[in-house]
Symmetry: D3
Subunit: 283 residues, 6 copies
């Protein structure tokens, strides 16, 4: 009898042979309103078995690709910096073997570690960021490391013009003002995505999707609910654009808080997002 | 058949005088992911009293027509074939008196019995099938009779070109491939419905609506959630097209699993679908 | 009036200096299907702290304006007339100081008291009414004062042509017929709103929003669910039109029943509606 | 009265031949905290089919007795007095044929109508009252007719010494003080029940059970939750005592609010209580 | 990087070295009222990480013993006999290596396969059965294989006097009558357990715990709720008695339906039951 | 301190005149399993209005005493030490005016700050600690400051023999072993409480109640569920014992996580605990 193996559906190959390495980052320590994203990776693995491996949108099947799920990182409590460092280290081990790290959050702060690991290899990195929130504060309630500051922290080392934001519909007036000079923000919708993809086609790109970019009607299971988001089909449209990118070097999908949606819909949506993202990144 | 005092709203006439006979088929024995559709018919009857009998979309009122609710079939356990036979027999008794059988599921497999009963009278039957899933597998986990094979089983006797599918957005690669040669599949949306209705205008048509054709944002209360569905208003648009059909000979609406949506929204949606469907079938 | 320390976010100024005075009317005594709107005002105050004070839609911030929250009215049981009188009296105290009363329901009947208070000052009052339901019955189950009759009761003293309804998608045939001769009803959508705003630009206008005008996919937390509603972004579009009105003299938002939506989404939506409505009314 | 096909399990005999007549009184118009008991009777009928008809506690089976379910009363809105009158009239029609009225609430105020109907026939009536709350206020928020005053209203015509209360654990200081002189109150538990039954053995007795007498651990689905209640087995013990009564002339079980307990446990408990109460009353 | 391993907490040893082999049997195909036990094993594994490995009741720690979790059986649909055969085969492979099979249900029918596998080796097998329901029907709705007949099917080959039932509080009159002559039934409570353990001390014993033996106040997450059950501490008392058995040869715990208890309590209880049962079986 | 208009019921006096000062400590930053206690204080204030101010258990009424609610502390993120310091400072301001601080958690770590503030004044302080968990670890996942270490941290300055624990039923083997030499632990139940109260009668005592000492059947709304707890009536019995203490110098009640119990029962229980605790501390 074999030991029990529990992976996201279709991510059941060996590490060495795989193109993409999935891992969970179950951290929600800076969540300001409703915590719970720590539960997302395992609940997604469980519910992923309600999903077909075939995507009719992309006409591709997870079973035709080599994909690996390395499980969840095991975090200590209390120190966001240490968690970011652990993520960075784990992700670097993936990047260094030429594979694509694909992280499931957790809250959005976890993106910082993963982006850092990729940036060390790709100095000309661009980030495509889909989110309801700008996440561009200099600090949040006195903290530099927060889900509300994470893209600002990425800007600290990436500099101007490298962060491309879509779907943003909530933030402080300061964030919206600061964004004008430093990042490429497309508020409210995905307008302009095609042009951005044209421009980034051959550049190394990290894609970070805060799932709350989706309208809460289809994704209520998240910490801070912001009506007025994009539809699932609009997100599928974005994925089709993403599939024109030739150099996706890292990805994540964050901020599912499954307990806040007892219908299971938000988790089902997140699982399908994982499937589509994997299928656009594999070649 | 005795008159049932606990009926769907407006379905309170006598059997003999009615055009449409509603009945419940509370079976979910082959549900692979999340069971619970067995509870749908009674919960819909109960919540239907929160519904107006008048449809402003169609400018018609249930109270102006003769409609009968014959209650739920009382199923034994364990043998899908026997359940299909019971449905067929009940539905045949309705068809034979020239009335329209209108079945509330239960899971989608129940459609097989109802279609069989209608097909015996109308050999040139066409099916209009709205669903998130193709339901075209040859077998599912070794079973020929399953919610995932039901339209394939209908194809077994109807043959090519008689099944018109809309809104399909999930299935195996094999189903999508097979569909190209054997059924009239319109994936993802209702595109092409107008033309199909033009063509079927005077033919005998059975309408089967797997309610998960709707986007889970408006209909999360179902076993297998598939984001990217049609909106309620798009479905109302389809109903307006359906009202051009001159020979609707049977109908069903299936796959509400009410416990998975505690807001009651999915049940309210299903009730309104029943009202609209009844109003397009009565003349 | 004492200052309330537990206020809706941003409504923390003094009464005297404020332009808008918010108050809760936690009454649901005539609710026919699912009661619970009595809980809305306090749950909204609590959850409003998950909301940013800045609106990127309007580029305005609650913190830049003077706003006051006078808390909830404390109602006795059983007598709808007395509750309407209490609301009228409270609202009149606000109107008389030249401020704008902004009421959070409670069921829709509470609108009657608030409209009466405003009408005493503005005889040429118009009402803009967004709702899923017409609320135009002459009586409901024998009662003249009901959530289902409230706009009819307003018509009793306002007369023809003063009530402008949008988004209506449910009612009896009689209501829809009566509406043609007496009110300006725009069923199903917001079509025609621009023209109505053009016409009412300089007239005194009371805005009443039954939140169930929104599609239940984004607002399931209400007593009577009606699919086919408008989206949140369509409502934001309406707010942009409203901001062209020069004389908003009263407002309300009613019919959140928070317990029916355990994800908290409906409450979050209602809070954002309050923010946007306040920002269009302040000058 | 017509036969209702949708009945509580086992209550499927004809009116004329039955000893007990069940009916629903879906009223919650004076509920002060959390409304919703209006939904109880129908949800209980539905879930009663998960119940065995045989009671191993009493070694009796519902199927061995003649029992009738006359359905729910259809109430207008707003006027508690009129609702009480309707209940009284319906219950009187049962009492006058020598049958036992058995009412399912609804809130506790409905008991008043049923007790009045019985009192007209039995002037020496005693009430056994199990409840968490004393319900002995002279008025509640200015109202004489309220769930919080209902036993006081019964006292108005029954007088001192006729009301025997058990399990009471919540009320005002005034209620507890007043009770000492006017009713036979046994606070907190069922202590003393045996002696009371001994005394009332041959007298006409009306039993009213506010289901919140049970501990909320087993019955959370109610409007006002009071920990420290009796266990289900203690209630079964009480039923065994009740079965020594020779002249039960009326009964009710009230205050299930099913939506507040999504596990269905409270409804299952209420259904079993109905079964046991029926079996102790039939001879 | 290792592949991801997902076991019940503490069951992380190798098969060969382990005394107990846990496995999941996620079948609920004959469930008559509320299905959902198919989800139990995986949700229990997930939530088991909220549990301490140390039992203060037994002063033993899972980490001090060799325990293996072989994952879930992968069942086809529709044929209960085939599922029982698969369980029997899997369990036999465990029994044949001298280890103790420990099955997590699923519905109670799964017990049949596991008992059969043990019986082949131990002809003098006794069953200790804790349950709310007798499960002794000859057939249920025409089916011989059902959760409601499972102990009767065990009796078919074990014969009289081998089944010792405790806590039974629901069934038909026939079951209770039949039990008197054929099984050792202790209704309502655990009374008599000590004596039974004395008697079975050195005999091969299979323990089957239908978790609904617990009162629904502590275990509402099950298909058929029966108030009046035993408390968790009474069950712990039973476990202490069980620890005097010298030859436990098989065990199971069945009928958790986790979706019906959204607090997670029922799952937490089931996890602790697994811990305690494992610790009494290891030596 | 300003008067807070939104207070716990009955805590509406002025600070200066009050004996007890309630405050909320909405922190859950070290919660290891299910976070959410940060929501407790405000939800308790809201639901406290479903509570009577009179306690029939103690025959005392909140309205007869002077009680003040100073609202919630407003915490920054991420640094447990800073949060403890803020609590200590706030509590000290209360202690220094001779009043009794009464804190509502939040997770159990908050107790450390409050105990420190009291200890500075009362060096001979004893703690009575009711809890399911020992909370005696030297560190938890590398952190010294954690909900799982809080009583150990209190022991750091109080020393042996000052901590009296009751109801403990979960922990590591090390905690239970360490406890034997350093604290006065009464596992599983309240046995021995009477004797401890006799001994501490005239000493300064701080009472900390982790509400999960209650059985989850009555209190499922908490982060880590442990069946086998005490009943509400046993807790009321403890309160009667506590009322013999002559020098209660501080109190808290922690670990309600209201979102995990949607029935509202856990919050109702917590509110009643606050009422009873206040009434035993006032003289």
């Amino acid at each position: 009898m074999n030991k029990n193996i529990f992976t996201f559906i279709g991510f059941d190959n060996e590490f060495e042979e795989s193109q993409i390495v999935l891992f969970g980052a179950p951290f929600d320590g800076t969540t300001s309103f409703r915590p719970g994203t720590r539960f997302a990776p395992n609940i997604m693995r469980n519910d992923s078995f309600g999903l077909e491996t075939y995507s009719p949108y992309l006409n591709k099947d997870l079973e035709d690709y080599m994909l690996f799920d390395s499980g969840d990182l095991d975090f200590p409590f209390g120190n966001p910096q240490r968690i970011i460092d652990m993520i960075k280290e784990h992700s670097k081990a993936i990047v260094n073997t030429g594979k694509i790290p694909f992280m499931i959050g957790g809250e959005h702060l976890v993106t910082l570690g993963s982006v850092q690991s990729v940036y060390e290899k790709y100095n000309d990195l661009h980030i495509i960021h889909l989110d309801a929130h700008a996440d561009l504060r200099e600090d949040y309630m006195g903290q530099k490391l927060s889900h509300a500051t994470v893209l600002r922290r990425c800007h600290d080392f990436l500099g101007d013009g490298r962060i491309h934001q879509f779907g943003i519909r909530s933030g402080t007036k300061e964030e919206f003002t600061w964004a004008k000079d430093h990042v490429d923000m497309h508020p409210f919708s995905l307008d302009g995505l095609k042009e951005v993809i044209d421009e980034l086609k051959d550049k190394p790109v990290y894609i970070t999707i805060d799932l709350d970019v989706l309208d809460p009607s289809i994704f209520p299971g998240t910490g801070t609910i912001e009506p007025g988001g994009i539809s699932f089909l609009e997100l599928v449209g974005a994925f089709k654009e993403f599939s024109r990118l030739n150099n996706i070097v890292g990805m994540d999908a964050v901020e599912l808080s499954p307990h806040y949606d007892q219908s299971g819909m938000s988790t089902a949506v997140a699982c399908k997002v994982i499937r589509e993202m994997a299928l656009i990144a594999v070649k």
